[in-house]
């Protein structure tokens, strides 16, 4: 009240009221900071990103250099994670593979989320026939269990890393569409949206300027958790030989190579898998923490 009066009386010395969105973000950040697991996850993610950017400059060997004399060597001081069937250094390949994994994760979720968010908002905002059509299409996509939808898409497009990204992106669209539709439905009926309509704001403006920022929390949480699923799915497709093609140091493909040498070289399959687990784990615990921090029910 006093702030308002001040604004009216003397606009020049007016104290700008704090942006409520920033305030909420601050509360969420403080809560996130208290959540140890989430912070560990967050730091792991930052570390992985740093490794993806800087790591390749510091690897002891080039990822594709073959050294057939030293093939299938167990871990040693020279080769920390051992060597594969071409004598390539597995540690170096894993470091180079980090950027591929993160690229798949971020890029496909960004694509899937963009499409899913737009479809979900349109569905929830307009309702009626558009809603029915969009949601029935999403139901159909969800009728393909697990990895199967991505598999079907890659089988059609042909095996390659980019096709895996497209497939995994499509695979994550319905999840976003459903969540966003629900959130949009709950926001749509609020008074400030009616006010915007009365002021003559266009639907586009209402959707992207006024609804989207208010439903951002569940989208951010889902995006974080989706990266985890995406990394797993993409690695699975590469493992099946439908994703990254040799000699690319993609972890799923490396695992698939390792499978053929399990009787004499356990480490070829072991280390890439450990890395997948760590990356997925980091996104999972960070996502869980974000969900707790951004959950409006849990606000102090």
């Amino acid at each position: 009240m006093s702030e308002q009066m001040q604004t009216i009386d003397n606009p020049r010395t007016a104290v700008k009221p704090p942006n409520p969105r920033l305030k909420n973000a601050k509360i969420a950040y403080n809560k996130l900071k208290k959540n140890k697991a989430a912070m560990i996850g967050g730091f792991m993610i930052l570390f992985f990103i740093a490794v993806a950017f800087i790591g390749p400059y510091f690897t002891p060997y080039a990822p594709e250099t073959q050294d057939l004399v030293n093939k299938l060597q167990p871990p040693s001081a020279d080769h920390w994670f051992g060597t594969d069937h071409y004598g390539r250094d597995i540690f170096s390949r894993i470091i180079h593979g980090m950027s591929i994994t993160l690229y798949i994760g971020f890029f496909s979720v960004a694509m899937g989320a963009t499409v899913g968010v737009v479809l979900g908002m349109v569905s929830g905002y307009y309702g009626g026939k558009i809603d029915t059509v969009i949601m029935r299409v999403m139901d159909v996509l969800l009728a393909f269990p697990g990895i199967l939808l991505a598999l079907a898409i890659v089988s059609v497009l042909g095996p390659s890393l980019n096709n895996v990204i497209i497939a995994v992106a499509i695979f994550s669209v319905p999840v976003f569409a459903r969540i966003v539709r629900g959130s949009t439905l709950s926001v749509r009926k609020l008074e400030y949206i009616d006010a915007m309509k009365a002021l003559g704001a266009s639907d586009f403006r209402i959707l992207f300027k006024h609804i989207l920022p208010n439903i951002a929390s569940p989208i951010i949480v889902q995006a974080t958790l989706s990266i985890a699923t995406t990394v797993l799915t993409a690695a699975g497709l590469s493992f099946l030989g439908l994703g990254a093609q040799p000699p690319m140091p993609e972890w799923g493909a490396m695992l698939s190579d390792g499978r053929n040498y399990m009787y004499n070289a356990w480490h070829v399959a072991f280390f890439p898998g450990v890395m997948i687990v760590l990356v997925v784990l980091a996104f999972n615990i960070f996502g869980d923490g974000l969900r707790d921090a951004l959950d409006p029910k849990m606000k102090e």
């Binding site: 009728a143 697990g146 690695a235 695992l255 499978r259 399990m262 009787y263 999972n284």
Partner: protein, 318 residues
């Protein structure tokens, strides 16, 4: 209830139509001429023409779709490009292998997941809770194909451990591949069931915690009801309601997961059939198998929804 079942049945129709359109389109979304791709790049023109005729690609699209669906309804999913056998026959025996694998894994994941979830929730913040939830977190983060490989490495091939490690000298107890014998079933079921168990454990825990903090549980405790009865009779029953939905979704995820598990353990189920056929560009089989798995999933989801409705009488009031 009867009305609900009928409505739920009717609701699946558009989904089924959508699924059939999508599966039918697979063949047409292949970049390039499917007839050329399936007869091989270097095949003579005549052979390509035969293939086109055989796949019915000369008909208008809607006629092709209509034929596909009407044949599929009669159990005719076309024939394999490679072997020439009916797709239905190719799927035949493999269907039960995959379903068995998915069911055993679901049972395992429900069993482990519920126990872990209940133990965790009833001893919140204890060592057991923390340990179980960390294990569960690894469970959801682990690629099942990697877990499968590691289990094979440890329990089917065996690893050289230092001689001072007791009991674990020779751990190659199971067979690394195949399906049927007990020694072939255990590892794939663990592989496939682990992530489901982890998800169910996490869900059960949070659902139990929510219920345990409610007034009627406090009332029960205040009345002097034994803790066991409170947990198992009062809390668990209501806590299980949301878990049912997760179990249904998990069964679907497991069905999809069979693709990887069957590949790792060389099990001749539908999952491996899909992969082998994708690599052989044998699209009628890819289409047929994907269709069957999706139908199975839609069916299971419907049953789960009905079960959910049955358990949760409160929905009826809405």
């Amino acid at each position: 209830m009867f009305k609900f079942i009928v409505r739920r049945l009717l609701q699946t129709i558009p989904v089924l139509i959508g699924v059939s359109i999508l599966v039918f389109s697979l063949m047409h979304l292949i970049p390039g001429d499917p007839a050329v791709i399936m007869s091989g790049e270097s095949a003579p023109e005549e052979q390509v023409e035969n293939m086109r005729e055989r796949l019915g690609l000369n008909d208008p699209l809607h006629v092709q779709y209509f034929n596909y669906v009407s044949n599929a309804v009669q159990g005719d999913l076309g024939s394999s490009i490679r072997s020439g056998r009916d797709v239905t026959d190719e799927i035949g025996g493999r269907f039960w292998v995959t379903v068995e694998l998915a069911i055993y894994s679901t049972i395992l994941s429900i069993f482990l997941g519920l126990i872990a979830g209940i133990v965790s929730a009833t001893r919140q913040y204890s060592f057991a809770d923390t340990a179980l939830m960390i294990v569960a977190l690894f469970g959801v983060s682990m690629p099942n194909f990697w877990l499968g490989l590691m289990l094979i490495q440890w329990f089917a091939i065996g690893i050289d451990l230092p001689s001072w490690v007791p009991f674990l000298e020779d751990t190659a107890w199971f067979k690394p591949s195949g399906w049927g014998e007990l020694s072939q079933v255990i590892l794939p079921v663990i592989t496939l069931g682990t992530s489901g168990a982890a998800i169910i454990a996490r869900m059960t825990r949070s659902s139990m915690l929510e219920v345990i903090n409610q007034d009627y549980i406090r009332t029960a405790r205040a009345k002097g009801v034994k803790e066991r009865v409170v947990v198992y009779r009062h809390a668990l029953k209501n806590a299980l309601i949301p878990v049912v939905t997760v179990v249904g979704l998990q069964f679907g995820a497991l069905l999809g997961g069979t693709v990887l598990t069957e590949t790792v353990f060389a099990i001749n189920g539908m999952g491996k059939l899909i992969i082998d056929s994708i690599q052989a560009r044998d699209f009628p089989i890819v289409q047929g198998t994907i269709l069957v798995v999706a139908l199975l999933f839609v069916l299971v989801n419907m049953l789960v929804d009905i079960a959910y409705r049955f358990l949760n009488k409160r929905i009826d009031l809405e």
